[in-house]
């Protein structure tokens, strides 16, 4: 749990996680905005539950840094753990969430990420999401990349349960805009995604997507120039570097394939933006592209 100053709902979130029917897990909290209120809440649970580990960051790392840190600490503390999930400090998880997601990963070695349908929590309301996305049964990396770039639900999938080794190979979180989308695209090269057709995650909805807010929270010391490039270009550059230059896809796939997948990502992400009615590209073009 990369925590950031949500003492108002933190206890509810932690209790939903500690109430999981699947008991063999640990909750590692790295707090990027330590305060007496937050530490009092988490310390209280850590005293009672040995699987709760709390660490406050001495300097602010920003959102990407904190997400990376929590993954690294979890891997250091539990190197034999096969699965990993990021959890927020404000959402709510159904008690069977971990049991159901782990069962999917246990049953199918080709699946690297399992996530459920979600419900959007609004003030005094709740809305079920009906959107579906998965790549189960798609064995080709290129086909998975194409489908993921076009259709994936990164905001929901990023809180799914993942194979820790695959996530590591995919590069964890990168210092780019929409890093969730970037890592999930990279992850699509390492295996399939399965959506469990049950609402088992309740997601707090506060504000819509905001690039400026992302830059501010990702880069506390100031946003680098490249962060103003289109996100697809940033993602292309990281995929190119990781898989075509550094050959991090080996032994599964080589540099040429890595180059091809990076190019596919760029092309199909642009296609997605052209086709998607509410895309930023459409907004930027100011209606030049006709609505389908």
């Amino acid at each position: 749990m990369p925590a950031y100053n949500r003492p108002d709902v933190l206890a509810r979130t932690i209790e939903s996680l500690l109430s999981q029917t699947y008991r063999d897990f640990a909750l590692v909290v790295t707090d990027d905005a330590p305060s007496p209120a937050v530490s009092a809440i988490i310390d209280g649970y850590a005293r009672q539950y040995r699987n709760v580990i709390y660490e406050a960051n001495s300097v602010r790392l920003g959102m990407v840094g904190n997400w990376r840190k929590v993954f690294e600490r979890a891997r250091q503390l539990y190197p034999r753990s096969q699965y990993f999930a990021w959890v927020s400090d404000h959402d709510v998880w159904h008690a069977r969430w971990l049991e159901e997601m782990a069962a999917v990963l246990d049953a199918n070695q080709d699946v690297v990420l399992a996530y459920p349908r979600s419900l959007r929590m609004e003030p005094d309301n709740a809305r079920m999401t009906r959107r579906a996305f998965e790549t189960v049964g798609i064995t080709g990396r290129g086909a998975r990349m194409r489908r993921s770039a076009r259709h994936m639900l990164s905001g929901e999938m990023i809180y799914g349960l993942m194979r820790a080794e695959a996530l590591e190979a995919a590069g964890v979180f990168r210092y780019v805009i929409t890093p969730d989308r970037q890592v999930l695209l990279a992850l699509s090269l390492f295996g399939q995604v399965k959506q469990v057709d049950e609402v088992l995650w309740y997601r707090e909805f506060r504000r819509g997507f905001d690039l400026e807010r992302q830059r501010g929270s990702f880069f506390p010391d100031g946003a680098p120039l490249y962060s103003y490039l289109p996100s697809h270009v940033q993602h292309f550059a990281t995929l190119l570097w990781d898989f075509a230059v550094s050959a991090k896809g080996r032994p599964r796939f080589g540099r040429v394939a890595g180059l091809w997948y990076a190019a596919m990502q760029l092309w199909f992400s642009i296609v997605r933006d052209v086709v998607l009615p509410k895309s930023r590209l459409r907004r930027a073009l100011g209606g030049l592209v006709k609505q389908p």
Partner: protein
């Protein structure tokens, strides 16, 4: 239902009635002193008192005598007013549009079942209330735990006349269903359920051997005990507690004791149909404060979701506007 079926069902019902009455008559001595009851509770219990000496014909129409418990009156459905029919038809249509039709269970015609005749079944206000609770559990991904093939679950219903137990047990047979409350209420629920589930296994709390009540728990379908025993419940496990307008008739200390007991026994969920605000003391007690203390409100348990998905909007003209609460267990209280 043919005339022969009706006669045989009525005969069986009266035999069940005699058996149940014999089993639970002693519970009256175990009930709280009269001054522990609230005004609404005293009103309800005195209206049900005649059931201790019911004739076969009264038992054969048992369902039509449940009015003091749920407030739903059979006479309203003999020739239903257009406004009532229109409202219920609209609500049923919305519920079936939102929810899984396979979960719909109408009011059985047995024991004087009544309601609007449509969809191939009868339904009335109670039927809809129960269906809403079922859909609430379904939307919250809770029902699957009870309907699925996993380990046998325990459900505790506080009071009621047996109608929700009938719906729930039909959908989730692999559950042990405990009902506690005033003996007058048990007289209704036990006879009703015994008649509708003739091959189910029933157990009644016996003061002579109290520990036996809690043994071999998985071997029984329905268990009945007085309120005082419910508050000392020793069930090996508890998974869901249910209150459909029963707690609101109790004093706040008894409400809290029930919710706390469910929490202490580890009941992961608590579902309640209870007053939506602060009702007048002469009509009902507030239940929400006790629920909030021991259970987190489930994210779908919001007034707008209930109104849009479950057509459950507190009706202002009701003396006690009510809402539905589904909570999941707090680890700290």
């Amino acid at each position: 239902m043919s005339q022969q079926d009706t006669v045989s069902s009525s005969t069986a019902a009266f035999e069940h009635y005699l058996e149940v009455r014999n089993s639970i008559r002693g519970y009256r001595d175990m009930a709280a002193p009269a001054d522990a009851f609230t005004q609404p509770e005293r009103r309800m219990l005195s209206a049900l008192d005649a059931m201790w000496d019911a004739s076969p014909s009264i038992v054969s129409l048992l369902r039509q005598h449940c009015h003091p418990i749920s407030g739903v009156c059979a006479s309203d459905y003999h020739d239903p007013k257009r406004s009532l029919r229109a409202r219920l038809d609209d609500e049923v249509a919305r519920l079936l549009e939102h929810g899984d039709r396979a979960l719909w269970i109408g009011e059985p015609a047995a024991l004087g079942g009544f309601g609007i005749d449509a969809l191939g079944t009868l339904y009335n206000e109670d039927t809809l209330r129960f269906f809403r609770v079922i859909l609430l559990l379904q939307d919250a991904a809770v029902l699957k735990e009870f309907a699925g093939p996993g380990p046998r679950r325990t459900v505790w219903e506080i009071g009621g006349w047996g109608g929700f137990a009938y719906q729930f047990k039909t959908l989730c047979p692999n559950t042990t269903y405990v009902i506690t409350g005033a003996p007058e209420l048990l007289l209704f629920s036990a006879v009703y359920l015994m008649t509708l589930f003739p091959s189910a296994r029933f157990r009644f709390y016996d003061r002579g051997c109290p520990d036996a009540f809690w043994t071999d728990w998985d071997a029984i379908d329905f268990a009945f005990a007085p309120e005082s025993v419910g508050l000392e419940m020793q069930a090996p496990r508890l998974d869901l507690a249910v209150d459909l307008m029963t707690l609101e008739r109790m004093t706040t200390s008894r409400i809290a004791a029930h919710v706390q007991r469910a929490h202490d026994l580890g009941s992961r969920y608590f579902v309640s149909m209870c007053p939506s605000g602060n009702p007048a003391a002469a009509l009902a007690s507030p239940v929400a404060p006790s629920l909030d203390r021991y259970y987190w409100p489930h994210p779908i348990s919001t007034s707008r979701y209930l109104a849009s998905a479950l057509a459950a909007r507190p009706r202002e003209k009701d003396p006690v506007p009510r809402t539905y609460f589904l909570g999941w267990r707090r680890l700290r209280t």
